[in-house]
Structure formats: structure tokens, C-alpha cells
């Protein structure tokens, strides 16, 4: 092993690494965003207060049951196994020949959605009852309360957990190499396979993964500060004595 070898290897294979890193970022960004949307929807539905109307109550129970099954199933099985089941299963059961990239996006999205649903539910529960009551007292319904008062606060509060999920996705998309997604781990393995040298390519991959996750951390911190707004406020008009 030498520094010289690593540099030559990078010089010869950088498009492979770059494409791999690009794919990793693409799948994890889309997966996190779609997953967050699924999580928000599921979280809002799971916190709807029990309706008075009987048929509505039964319908809501049914929806909640389906959501629970979804969440428990996808949190409770490894993504690598889900990837195999969904990718090969869709071909076997429905005769759909899934594009691997589409398959990757679907798997990461629904997996993230299951985790995010619980994160959002926790976020909604943590909002003070008084916020809900004040919104209801001025005549807002559940949807208006959620959109205008609760969710903006929930989103701010779950941003660190969402960042965590994003970072986990960047790393865990590596398991998608089992269905042939050309993400960073897959590309690194290919580079290593050509030269039969393993340490150097994976060392480079290691650095690339860290650069990606750390950049995400920094960007999200910046967003958190943005969302918090300025510490000070300006008075308008003249202050009465």
C-alpha cells in the first residue's frame, strides 16, 4: 500500500467513485424526502382524535391498523431482505421487471417512511396540549390545526431526528448492491475487483461516505438555525412611556 497507489487508482477510477457517490446521494435524498412525507401523513392520520360518528370511527381504526402493520413490518425486517423480497417478488408476483434505481427509491422511501411515522408521532405528542386547544378554540378543525399550528412546530423539533435518518440512509443504501444498484459500495467493489486490491478502494469509499454524511450534518444545522429565526425583534412605532 502506498499513497502513490491510492492516487493513481483514484486518477484511473474517479468517474466510477463519483457516479457511485452520486447514486448514493440521489437515492438517499429522494428516499429521505419521500419517506418524510409518508411519515408526516401517517403521523397526522395516527393522531386524529377519535370521531363521534360510528362508521367514521371504524374506518379510522382500519386505516390505523394498516398503518401499524406497515410501520411494524418495515421497522422489523432488514432493508437488505426487503430489497430482495420487493425486487424479486415484484417480478415473480406481478411480472413487473423493476428498474433497479426505481426499486432502490421505493425501498428506501417506504423504509424511511416507517421510521419517520414514529418520529412524527412522537413530535406531535410532544407539542403542548394548549397549542391544540387554542387552535380549536378559534374554530380550526384537525387539518387546519395541524397545518397552521402543530406541524410547523413538529417539523422544527424533528429536524435532528430527520437528519439522523438521512445519514443512516446514506450509509445503508450500501446494502442495495445486492440487487445491483450502482451506488458507492457497488462501484467500490467493482474497482477492487479489477485490481484485486481491497484496502485502497474501500479506504477511498470510507472518506467519501464521511464527506457526504458530515456535509449533511452541517447543512441541516444551518437549516435549524434558519428556522429558529432571529433572536431579536424590532419594535414598531414609538414606545409609550
Amino acid at each position: 500500500m502506498s499513497l502513490e497507489y491510492i492516487l493513481t487508482m483514484i486518477a484511473n477510477n474517479w468517474p466510477m467513485f463519483l457516479r457511485g457517490a452520486g447514486m448514493t446521494l440521489f437515492v438517499s435524498i429522494i428516499g429521505t424526502i419521500v419517506g418524510a412525507i409518508i411519515g408526516l401523513l401517517a403521523g397526522v392520520i395516527r393522531t386524529i382524535p377519535v370521531p363521534e360518528n360510528k362508521s367514521k370511527r371504524i374506518f379510522l381504526k382500519l386505516v390505523n391498523l394498516i398503518l401499524s402493520i406497515y410501520i411494524e413490518f418495515f421497522r422489523g425486517t432488514p432493508m437488505i431482505v426487503q430489497a430482495m423480497v420487493i425486487f424479486y417478488g415484484s417480478a415473480l408476483a406481478f411480472g413487473i421487471d423493476m428498474n433497479v434505481t426505481v426499486a432502490a427509491l421505493v425501498i428506501v422511501s417506504i423504509n424511511t417512511g416507517a421510521y419517520m411515522a414514529e418520529i412524527v408521532r412522537g413530535g406531535v405528542i410532544s407539542i403542548d396540549r394548549g397549542q391544540f386547544e387554542a387552535a380549536q378554540a378559534i374554530g380550526m378543525n384537525h387539518m387546519q390545526t395541524m397545518l397552521n399550528v402543530v406541524l410547523p412546530q413538529v417539523i422544527r423539533n424533528i429536524l435532528p431526528a430527520t437528519g439522523n435518518q438521512f445519514i443512516i440512509n446514506i450509509k445503508d443504501t450500501s446494502v442495495l448492491n445486492v440487487i445491483g444498484v450502482t451506488e458507492l459500495y457497488f462501484q467500490t467493489k467493482t474497482v477492487a475487483g479489477i485490481s484485486f486490491k481491497y484496502f485502497e478502494p474501500f479506504f477511498v469509499a470510507c472518506v467519501l461516505y464521511f464527506v457526504m454524511t458530515f456535509s449533511v450534518t452541517l447543512i441541516l444545522r444551518y437549516f435549524e438555525r434558519k428556522l429558529d429565526g432571529p433572536e431579536n425583534y424590532s419594535m414598531t412605532g414609538t414606545k409609550a412611556l
Binding site: 363521534e52 360518528n53 403542548d128 394548549g130 397549542q131 386547544e133 387554542a134 387552535a135 380549536q136 378554540a137 378559534i138 374554530g139 380550526m140 378543525n141 387546519q144 397552521n148 399550528v149 410547523p152 412546530q153 422544527r156 429565526g229 425583534y233 424590532s234 419594535m235 414598531t236 412605532g237 414609538t238 414606545k239 409609550a240
Partner: protein, 244 residues
């Protein structure tokens, strides 16, 4: 005079515990009514039942000739007619002072943003908070928060204002500024229903005082009558304990 809210045989239980027992009570237009009584007497629950933050177990709430406990009734539209001020202020944390007073008008009453802001500023001026439109809830003192909360409720231009112990969570030095605002509102002829422990204030501003104990209305009369010549033993005992 016309009754704004007429409550008949209202009851509320949590399991087997009966918090409100067969309450008959009404508020007329322009009246200022204070509800007094010791903690746990059911006065806050009564107020919260009126705007349905608590679901009554039985009885009727008649508003404009209609029983709003009928399932068909639109409770969201009804609530816009009742302004609520909470003990813990409950300003929306994600909105600044102005948008706290604007969001309900725009989203629920479907007013334009311009109109809503004009209305909001008018009421923020009434409570003396018009200079703080850009401030967030966490940047205000308790008294300031409560005054904004009053402006938020007024901005919906309700028929009745409900106050649930509006000064109980305040530092003593801030109680005065909130009571002053409420006193000014009472003088404008606004219909107000106030749950309070401020006896001096109740005596001064109310047209009527209601004394509650153990889930029932024990005595209901003019401030002079309740404070100077209470007829029931329980009222006498309560006043003796609270007024030094």
C-alpha cells in the same frame, strides 16, 4: 335582554366522578359574569364545556335558539363565536404576535390577509401590544403574552369572551396590566364570562357573580348580593377564606 348562551341541565363526569351536576346557567348580551369558587369546584370545566373543549356528558347548550350539542351542529363555526383566553396563554409558538392574531381570521373566517392584519392591529392596540407585532411568544413576558392572547380572541370578533383564570399563571406584578385590559373591555359592553380568583376584580367589574362549589351553582346574583349578603353557608365560608 337576549340570552347569548343558555345552558340547561348540563352535566359532566369523568368515569364515575361527577364534576358538573345539572347546571342551569345563562349569559345575556352585554353582561359581565364572574364565576368564583375554590379549586376543583368545576368552574373551569364549565367554561371548557361551553366551548366544547370538554365534551359535556348531558344537558343542552342553547346558542341562538339551537342546541349545539346536536351532532349535526358545526362546532367549528360555533367556536369562532366564542373567544377563549387560557390560564397558560397558549400563544402559537410558531407565529409572531401579529400572525397569532391573523392566522385564525384568514384560515377559519376566510378573511383576506390585509383585512385580517387591520383587524389584528386594531385589537393589539386595544391591549397595548401594537408595538410588538414582530415579537415571538418566547420573547414576551407573561402579562404581554396574555394581552396578545386576548387580542387574538378579540380578532375573531366573537359574541362572548371566555376567560379561564387569565391571571392565575402570572407574576403578581403582571396581574394588574391584564386586569386593566379586561376592565376596559368590560366597559365597552362586551359579553364576558370570567373564571377568576381575583375577588376584588370580580366585585368591581361584574354585573353578576356566580359562586360554584362541588359541581353545582350555589349562588348566583349581583356582586353586592354575593359579596355583602351571601345567603348560603358555603358561599360565606368561601368568602371568609378568600377575602382577608
Amino acid at each position: 335582554m337576549e340570552k347569548v348562551i343558555d345552558i340547561q341541565h348540563l352535566s359532566k363526569s369523568y368515569g364515575s366522578h361527577e364534576v358538573l351536576k345539572d347546571i342551569d346557567f345563562s349569559v345575556k348580551k352585554g353582561e359581565v359574569v364572574c364565576i368564583i369558587g375554590s379549586s376543583g369546584s368545576g368552574k373551569s370545566t364549565l367554561l371548557r364545556c361551553i366551548n366544547l373543549l370538554e365534551k359535556p356528558s348531558g344537558g343542552q347548550i342553547i346558542y341562538h335558539g339551537e342546541n349545539i350539542l346536536d351532532h349535526k351542529h358545526d362546532i367549528h363555526a360555533y367556536r369562532t363565536k366564542l373567544g377563549m383566553v387560557f390560564q397558560q396563554f397558549n400563544l402559537f409558538n410558531n407565529h409572531n404576535v401579529l400572525s397569532n392574531c391573523v392566522v385564525g381570521q384568514v384560515k377559519v373566517l376566510k378573511r383576506s390577509k390585509e383585512e385580517a392584519e387591520t383587524v389584528a392591529k386594531k385589537f393589539l392596540k386595544v391591549v397595548g401590544m401594537d408595538q410588538y407585532v414582530n415579537a415571538k411568544s418566547k420573547q414576551l413576558s407573561g402579562g404581554q403574552k396574555q394581552r396578545v392572547a386576548i387580542a387574538r380572541a378579540l380578532s375573531m370578533e366573537p359574541d362572548v369572551m371566555l376567560f379561564d383564570e387569565p391571571t392565575s399563571a402570572l407574576d403578581p406584578e403582571m396581574v394588574g396590566e391584564v386586569l386593566k385590559v379586561m376592565k376596559e373591555l368590560a366597559e365597552t359592553g362586551l359579553t364576558m364570562l370570567i373564571v377568576t380568583h381575583e375577588m376584588e376584580f370580580a366585585r368591581e367589574v361584574s354585573d353578576r357573580v356566580v359562586f360554584m362549589d362541588k359541581g353545582v351553582i350555589v349562588e348566583d346574583g349581583s356582586p353586592e348580593q354575593i359579596f355583602n349578603n351571601p345567603t348560603h353557608e358555603r358561599t360565606k365560608a368561601f368568602l371568609k377564606r378568600t377575602i382577608k
